[in-house]
């Protein structure tokens, strides 16, 4: 049956900012869906608050609303656009939950909007714990014994029946937020309290723990004719108890006989039918008792998920695209398989390789947090690797993580030889981000598979493969370089060993190994991902490397350029860089040049097989990239769009003779190297804060004394302000230096004078060697000292004077020309006492490029790509900065709620995982939107708690005055209250926690406070101030930790009093 013609206009809800458990995968799925629906001639309306997405590119959907994803805003869009249908299943849990709320508001009914894919009843049945459990019983499937509770008392009663350990799962949350395993009553009460609070409908399920059972997932698709297919099976290496997002997983399932696999398949299909998902993709999770194969259903997601993205990349089957087509009435047998062109979507992909996904965590950013993996997801990104064997894929995955290890062992980093056996065993028994290294160490020490299994419950199948890798490693060591004959080398390369591992083990260099491989002909070959295990000819060029006989790569004789992606998401390097890489690919396509993408992140649009002309799903290491370059011989490589990952490869690649396109590696070095940069600024007559570079602790102390405290310190060559601190005294500096030098001894530490209370400014610009055009000037909302990635900012600046803007423009132009920038450049400035300081220059794409592009309508990354390919800005029609009449505000989004014990205070080390944009006519309105979008609703009345550090007290007075004017009550801690009283501001005084009860946390718990303004010195100075911030987080109260932020909030409050928020598509702004 053809597509539906009774609907014309479809609204898609995106997933908003990148947060833990909801990352780029929903940009990938949303982008696929928008493209698929437009291809079918539908008018597509999109809402997503995340400007760093490809899906919000103005040319993609017909009407793109970069607005807060709240039911109210969606309702406004529906009222304005009158779509015929709403597709809620492609925007993650956010999209689904928002759709439910919009439906509950009666908006869908009022405007006659149909829900596509899954209706409200289906969503409730799948997501509501009790409904789901009943549905499973109805079709004869087992679920873990469980009880739904709504109060703590009920929870206590339930555990008496089920027993400990018990899993706490709140309903309607994503990534298992608020969930966890309780081993005793104390933990149960803690988890249940938080869970009840987080759940959309104040309900929590207590479930029998299946710790140690094997965990599986199946990706299922159904069409309106009830045809159901399984796209992919996934087996978790980590047993039940670790969230699947935090598990190392492998596709397809490895340890199931066909009989067991088919039982799981039957169950998935039955679930799909019983829950009633009409069309589209779903994900079903199972647990299997390793002792007897007993099967239990854990949960199902009636929507496209992170696992769907993984399954799509693992099989080549584009789940989101097909889901969109099924939603508008097509059936599986009517949709062509793009890859084979001759077959249809109504089949089950067969894969002839092994896929391994490994999560990437960033516990180092949150040292206070417990590195412990449970049922609540904590990883911020993931990497996927493809190999012909598990061993190969696993090692490729390990080196794709970009955490400095090149595989499983064979590496000086993560050496645990010193760890004693007791600690090692304890570590194995307590899943953490470090467990994989402990598994290596346990194997290396000769601990048996049986014993490791006993402790970890990791299936012996995996453990045996790991043991074999350790054994191979030992024989490499034993043989030494001389023993690396062709056959042996071939064998170890087939097991995924990197040249660098071999070099380390044989005490040679990576170059030595490469040369040996060249001489013996042990070379990587490329195989195709084709959905059908070679049964049909495949046309889509999606490759992975291995060491085997046949090479299937198809090298064309076209002009071609390689783009290096940014690898797994991490804090500081995420979707913004993928956005830039994708734009580079689009630009190359426009120029008729073949684009070759290299990346290892399955969540991204860049690893979609139709984004570039060719896709190599490979680790971003020197060896793996050089192998592809040798094969493809591109005319150049673009390294400036993927963040630090490809930039770190620039010099090694250039040294290997690879042409680096755009700004030269030397210019990059000139901007990064302190001394050279200083000379450059001196030459141009520009200022920077007093600074120095230290190789050792003593030197650091000397420099800091010279410059004067406070100072900002950081290791060079890092992104996201890793290990960046503001330091106020020599003692702290000593400690810092001791710590940092164990982290990275090869790079010096940079020390800058900290410009207190300066205004920071970010600039993105493009230079073609002749002229420089500014993309945008962004003024930070928060004062200096907060990482630019964590600071809110506004474009155009709302406080800076024209003369200063002109000075910024001139400085930017001068530096770009002097650095011979070809492409993008980002500059961070600080302005203090009307003097412009240059903080840093990065001659590459920055995190703010997509924001600037969405704010101004100028596709900076595309233009930069064309410039890198030799085009001139004048010819490209971009010779003058676009300064919009409207305001756009970028706000950061943080993962603090995932980590216990972590302070929410901002500092020079970046902690945010994502961003949102608010766009409107005035700063106040734009800022208000950014706050709503970031999940920080602006209170319309009530009480504001103010507790600020001493130096902030004068500045907070006008804020408080304005709040009174707006009708708020003020509550303040003693010191703040005194200052307010002195300024004739009425307020009630409240105790800090240390001052005895009732204190402010009591008030927070009693919901007597609607907003908190709390500032504090540097780090976690006083426990009191930490408790305030943490309570605000735990009780979902909007909070502000800077005076500047408070001022902006008040301005936003005033603005929405004057004019309620309205919606407007970005297409109407440009």
């Amino acid at each position: 049956m053809p597509k539906r013609t009774d609907i014309k206009k479809i609204l898609i809800i995106g997933s908003g900012p990148i947060i833990i458990s909801q990352a780029c995968e929903f940009d990938y799925s949303g982008t696929q869906a928008v493209k698929a629906l437009k291809e079918e001639g539908y008018e597509v309306v999109l809402i997503n608050s995340n400007p760093a997405t490809i899906m919000t590119d103005p040319e993609l959907a017909d009407r793109t609303y970069i607005e807060p994803i709240t039911p109210e805003m969606v309702a406004k869009i529906i009222a304005k656009e009158r779509p015929d249908a709403l597709l809620p299943t492609l925007g993650g849990q956010t999209g689904l939950n928002t759709a439910i709320k919009v439906a509950e508001l009666g908006v869908l009914e009022q405007f006659g909007v149909e829900l596509l894919g899954a209706n409200i009843d289906v969503i409730r049945k799948a997501e509501g714990r009790e409904e789901f459990r009943d549905a499973m019983h109805k079709i004869g499937l087992k679920v873990p014994q469980s009880t739904i509770v709504h109060t703590i008392a009920e929870a206590r009663a339930a555990v008496a029946e089920i027993g400990f350990p018990i899993i706490v799962r709140p309903s309607f949350t994503l990534g298992g937020t608020g969930g966890g395993v309780a081993y005793n009553s104390h933990e149960l009460e803690e988890l249940a309290t938080v869970g009840l609070d987080l759940s959309l409908n104040s309900e929590v399920m207590l479930e029998k723990s299946l710790l140690g059972w094997k965990e599986y997932e199946l990706e299922v698709m159904r069409d309106k004719n009830d045809n159901v297919v399984i796209i992919c099976s996934i087996e978790n290496m980590d047993a039940m108890g670790v969230h699947t997002g935090d598990s190392i997983t492998v596709a397809p399932a490895q340890t199931l006989t066909d009989r067991e696999y088919q039982a799981m398949r039957d169950a998935s299909i039955a679930i799909m039918r019983e829950i009633g998902v009409e069309t589209g993709g779903s994900n079903v999770q199972f647990a299997v008792n390793p002792a007897d194969g007993e099967l239990m259903v854990i949960e199902m997601n009636p929507r496209v998920s992170r696992s769907s993205a993984l399954a799509s990349k693992a099989t080549g089957f584009p789940i989101a695209k097909i889901a969109a087509k099924l939603a508008v009435g097509y059936t599986l047998d009517e949709i062509r398989n793009d890859i084979t062109r001759e077959t249809y979507a109504s089949f089950e992909p067969s894969i002839d390789y092994c896929v391994v996904k490994i999560p990437r965590w960033t516990f180092e950013k949150f040292p206070e947090a417990d590195d412990f993996l449970t049922t609540s997801m904590k990883s911020v990104g993931e990497t996927m690797a493809i190999g012909r064997t598990f061993k190969e894929a696993f090692q490729k995955g390990m080196r794709s993580l970009e955490i400095g290890c090149m595989g499983f062992g064979g590496d000086p980093k993560y050496n645990l030889e010193e760890m004693d056996d007791i600690d090692l065993k304890a570590g194995l028994g307590r899943p953490s981000s470090q467990r994989v290294f402990q598994l290596y160490e346990a194997s290396r020490r000769g601990m048996s598979v049986a014993e490791i299994y006993q402790i970890t419950a990791i299936d012996p199948w995996f453990l045996n493969h790991l043991r074999e890798l350790v054994a191979t490693e030992a024989s490499i060591k034993e043989r030494g370089f001389a023993g690396l004959d062709r056959d042996f080398l071939y064998k170890v390369k087939q097991q995924g060993f990197a040249d660098r591992q071999l070099a380390f083990l044989t005490r040679t260099s990576e170059e030595d190994i490469r040369e040996l491989r060249d001489n013996t002909g042990v070379k990587a070959v490329y195989k195709l991902v084709d959905t059908c295990a070679a049964e049909f000819e495949a046309y889509t060029p999606y490759f992975y490397s291995t060491y085997e006989v046949e090479d299937e790569s198809r090298v064309s004789d076209r002009r071609k350029v390689m783009i290096l992606g940014s690898g797994p998401n991490r804090i500081g390097q995420g979707i913004e860089f993928d956005y830039c890489c994708v734009h580079a690919s689009f630009a190359l396509k426009e120029l008729g040049i073949e684009s070759i993408m290299v990346n290892s992140n399955p969540e991204t649009v860049s690893t979609d097989y139709d984004t570039s002309d060719k896709l190599y799903f490979e680790p971003l290491t020197r060896e793996d990239v050089l192998n592809i370059i040798e094969k493809e011989k591109p005319e150049g490589v673009i390294v400036q769009f993927g963040g630090q990952t490809p930039l770190n490869l620039a010099v090694p690649l250039a040294n290997a003779g690879v042409p680096i396109l755009g700004t030269s590696p030397d210019s990059i070095d000139r901007a990064e190297d302190r001394k050279r940069f200083q000379q450059l600024l001196q030459k141009l007559g520009l200022k920077q804060p007093a600074n120095g570079t230290a190789m050792a602790g003593d030197e650091a102390l000397r420099i800091a004394a010279e410059i004067g405290y406070p100072v900002v310190v950081r290791p060079s060559y890092v992104l996201g302000g890793r290990a960046m601190r503001i330091i106020y005294n020599a003692n702290d500096l000593k400690n810092y230096m001791a710590k940092v030098f164990t982290v990275s001894a090869e790079h010096p530490v940079l020390i800058d004078k900290f410009l207190k209370d300066a205004v920071e400014v970010d600039v993105d610009a493009i230079c073609d060697g002749e002229i420089t055009v500014l993309g945008g000037i962004m003024e930070h909302i928060e004062e200096a000292g907060i990482h630019s990635g964590d600071s809110a900012c506004v474009l155009p600046p709302h406080h800076l004077l024209p003369a200063m803007l002109e000075e910024i423009r001139l400085a930017t132009e001068a530096m770009a020309l002097e650095l011979k920038v070809k492409g993008l450049m980002n500059v961070q400035y600080a302005i203090k006492d009307n003097i412009l300081y240059i903080l840093e220059v990065n001659p590459r794409a920055s995190r703010t490029v997509p924001f600037v592009s969405k704010a101004t309508g100028v596709p900076l990354a595309k233009l930069a790509t064309k410039v890198m390919m030799g085009h001139k800005l004048v010819d490209l029609g971009f010779s003058k900065q676009v300064i919009p009449k409207h305001h756009a505000v970028k706000e950061a989004v943080f993962p603090f709620n995932r980590f216990d014990n972590v302070d929410t205070l901002l500092g020079p080390e970046m902690k945010s995982t994502g961003e949102v944009m608010g766009i409107d006519d005035s700063f106040g309105l734009a800022f208000a939107k950014s706050q709503f979008a970031a999940g920080q609703p602006i209170p319309s009345g009530g009480t504001v708690l103010i507790s600020v550090r001493h130096p902030d007290k004068p500045a907070i007075v006008p804020v408080a005055a304005k709040l009174i004017q707006l009708g708020f009550n003020i509550m303040a801690t003693h010191g703040t209250a005194t200052v307010l009283a002195e300024n004739n501001i009425t307020c009630t005084t409240i105790n800090k926690v240390s001052e005895g009860r009732p204190h402010l946390v009591d008030k927070i718990r009693d919901h007597q406070i609607q907003w908190i303004i709390n500032t504090s010195m540097g780090t976690r100075t006083t426990e009191d101030s930490y408790i305030i911030r943490r309570s605000a987080l735990d009780y979902h109260l909007p909070y502000t930790t800077t005076v500047a932020g408070a001022i902006a909030m008040v301005e936003a409050m005033a603005a929405i009093r004057e004019r309620p928020l309205e919606v407007k598509p970005v297409q109407d702004y440009y």
């Binding site: 295990a533 070679a534 049964e535």
Partner: protein, 379 residues
């Protein structure tokens, strides 16, 4: 131990035996199922064939007594990318290597099975020799060329039961005329051209009392048992190689409901007066989409065949197409317009593979239900 695989077109692949020495010839085919190697190995349709699995990791879950589809390993040799020697599964009672060794079959690993598969896809299924004993390429290629091949040969003889047996619910038990069969409502005679046990299991589960007879059984012998239905099983090789079974079936047409699977389906095609032909490389795997033209529904099916019924060779007034393969539009099922006879090219008994097509066994039972009570069909 090094092993060499030589194809009749001169192509060579190297591997390593994980089952000891040996040499064997056969037709080289690939199977794309990602699980179910034990069922594949014991499927009699693979007689005369050397099978390579496209899924690279094999042996992961060992072998067990329940997943046997016949009494022994049927494939001639088994070629894989990586043999996983230490199985992990609660049902595993042994390793794949031992299983192959006990069956006297060669298992070879370390092969670029994707290259091998691509080669067959492009050049077609072909004759091949695997050896650990003769590593001389010329000699081995010559042996591959010299092997008789499958076309026109009777492979059924080698796999059909020697003696009739009844299905006792769990296993075969020698005996004739339903004496050893577990009780059931419908008497089904299965003409064994190389059946898979799961066919019998599924029939029994639907209330059928099953009597298996050798492929050489005559129509008279079969009818003498007063069956309610006749089941034509799968089996190896070229349907043209078993004219005697075709003849038997011709005599049974119109007498009782008939259900044919795979070779049984091809034999029916010939019995209806049609022709069969050899596919380039066949369909072998667990993911073949088939459309039931009577319902419009798609089922994901388990397949294993190298030959196909030529629909154009059949009288369209008598026989109608019921199922087609969505990938290549090939014939997947047919039925007789007058008589209760239908057949499918694929394997509704799965094992390995999806269970989507089990309904065909229900259809067969329904047919018998309708026909019961009538003394034959009056033809």
């Amino acid at each position: 131990m090094k092993a060499l695989i030589a194809l009749e077109d001169g192509t060579l692949f190297e591997g390593e035996s994980f089952t000891g020495p040996g040499e064997i010839a056969g037709e080289l085919v690939f199977n794309t199922a990602m699980s179910g190697y034990q069922e594949v190995l014991t499927d009699p349709s693979y007689k005369g064939q050397i099978v390579t699995m496209t899924y690279p990791l094999i042996g992961n879950y060992g072998v067990n007594p329940e997943d046997m589809e016949s009494t022994a390993i049927q494939v001639e040799a088994f070629l894989v990318k990586e043999y996983n020697a230490i199985p992990s599964n609660f049902r595993a009672t042994g390793t794949l290597a031992d299983f192959l060794k006990d069956g006297g079959k060669l298992g070879v690993q370390g092969i670029d099975t994707r290259a091998l598969t691509r080669h067959i896809r492009q050049a077609g299924a072909m004759k091949c020799v695997v050896s650990t004993q003769d590593l001389d390429p010329h000699s081995l290629v010559a042996k591959a060329k010299a092997w008789q091949g499958l076309v026109g040969h009777d492979m059924v003889k080698a796999v059909s039961c020697r003696e009739a047996y009844g299905w006792d619910g769990q296993a075969p038990r020698n005996g004739t005329n339903f004496t050893t069969a577990a009780p059931g409502d419908y008497r089904v005679v299965a003409i064994d051209c190389g059946l898979k046990y799961n066919q019998l299991r599924l029939l029994a589960a639907r209330g059928c009392k099953v009597q298996v007879v050798p492929a050489t059984a005559t129509a008279e012998e079969i009818l003498a048992m007063h069956p309610d239905g006749i089941f034509l099983t799968n089996g190896p090789g070229d349907p043209a190689g078993v004219p005697y079974v075709v003849e038997t079936v011709q005599r049974l047409l119109g007498k009782q409901p008939i259900f044919g699977i795979c070779l049984g389906h091809q034999i029916l095609g010939l019995a209806f007066g049609g022709k069969t032909f050899k596919l380039k490389f066949g369909h072998r795997g667990s993911n073949q989409p088939v459309k039931d033209l009577t319902t419009g529904r798609i089922e994901i099916t388990s397949q294993n065949h190298g030959f196909c019924v030529d629909m154009d060779s059949l009288n369209q007034d008598e026989v109608e197409l019921t199922h087609v393969n969505i990938n290549d539009n090939s014939v997947e099922g047919m039925r007789h317009k007058k008589w209760p006879i239908f057949s499918v090219q694929y394997h509704p008994e799965h094992a390995p593979g999806p269970h989507d097509a089990e309904y065909l066994f229900d259809r067969f039972v329904e047919m018998m239900k309708k026909a019961v009570g009538c003394s034959g069909l009056g033809v």
